[in-house]
């Protein structure tokens, strides 16, 4: 799925423009602990999280992820949007809770490689 399709599916607001909308996202991981993302997640292009701070973007960068979705209506700070634009990582916010956002993506064919 493209980032724009994921945003539509989750009724999510998209905060970035400088990301790769041609990327075909096939897998995701959901977690609030960034060390766990790095320890247990393998090749996942999308991160779903309820944690909102700049280190979420750093973690996604180190893990070669293309997009981050903040769940439960959490919104990124301006400094985080700027950092994400620099790293070409998409930032989205959805009102769905973590479980439901993950479930909707799974139903649409997204799978997970660890967490």
């Amino acid at each position: 799925m493209k980032i724009s399709e994921i945003a539509t599916l989750l009724n999510a607001e998209l905060y970035t423009v400088n990301h790769d909308d041609t990327a075909d996202i096939k897998s995701a991981c959901s977690a609030d602990l960034m060390s766990d993302v790095m320890a247990f997640s393998k090749e996942n292009a999308l991160l779903l999280t309820g944690l909102v701070n700049p280190q979420v973007i750093r973690t996604a960068e180190m893990m070669d992820m293309k997009a981050i979705i903040f769940v439960r209506g959490k919104k990124p700070l301006q400094s985080m949007i700027e950092l994400a634009e620099e790293k070409k990582i998409a930032l989205m916010s959805t009102e769905y809770p973590l479980f439901e956002a993950s479930g909707r993506l799974y139903m649409s064919g997204i799978r997970g490689n660890g967490y």
Binding site: L33, S35, T59, E61, M62, S79
Partner: protein
């Protein structure tokens, strides 16, 4: 890559916004050098965890990076309180981080195990009250 590429970075204390800048810079450098993606990811994760540790526990510090044709060596040093029981600290889930750090998504006791998992060689020189020097080597 015939010659040795050397880089030095400062890791500012208690600056959670810029924590990870050094790891990000090294990652970008490795991408430019055409290093294999799995080697880059291992290096990035190990260095980032060490950098975060220096911010959380070490009152900031320094990163010294050397890239040779066959390996990358990263030395992260701080003058923090040191690690009292290294064997215990290496166990998954053991952490001395305060709640304020846990709220930031770290401090779950996975930092040192993550470094060990991703580095080909990991040497930790530490003593209580004397700071910590973490040397991470990844073979290229």
């Amino acid at each position: 890559m015939g010659q040795v590429i050397v880089r030095d970075y400062d890791i500012p204390a208690d600056d959670f916004l810029s924590a990870g800048e050094a790891s990000s810079a090294v990652r970008n450098l490795l991408i430019q050098l055409g290093v294999a993606p799995d080697r880059i990811k291992r290096t990035a994760i190990a260095m980032y965890e060490a950098e975060i540790n220096a911010v959380i526990h070490g009152h900031g510090g320094k990163a010294h990076v050397e890239i040779k044709s066959d390996r990358i060596t990263i030395v992260i040093s701080d003058e923090g309180p040191g690690i009292e029981d290294l064997e215990l600290a290496m166990q998954e889930g053991y952490s001395t981080a305060p709640d304020s750090i846990r709220e930031m998504g770290f401090g779950a006791g996975m930092g040192l195990p993550n470094m060990k998992k991703n580095a080909d060689e990991l040497v930790i020189d530490t003593a209580k009250g004397k700071g910590t020097v973490v040397t991470i080597t990844v073979y290229l």
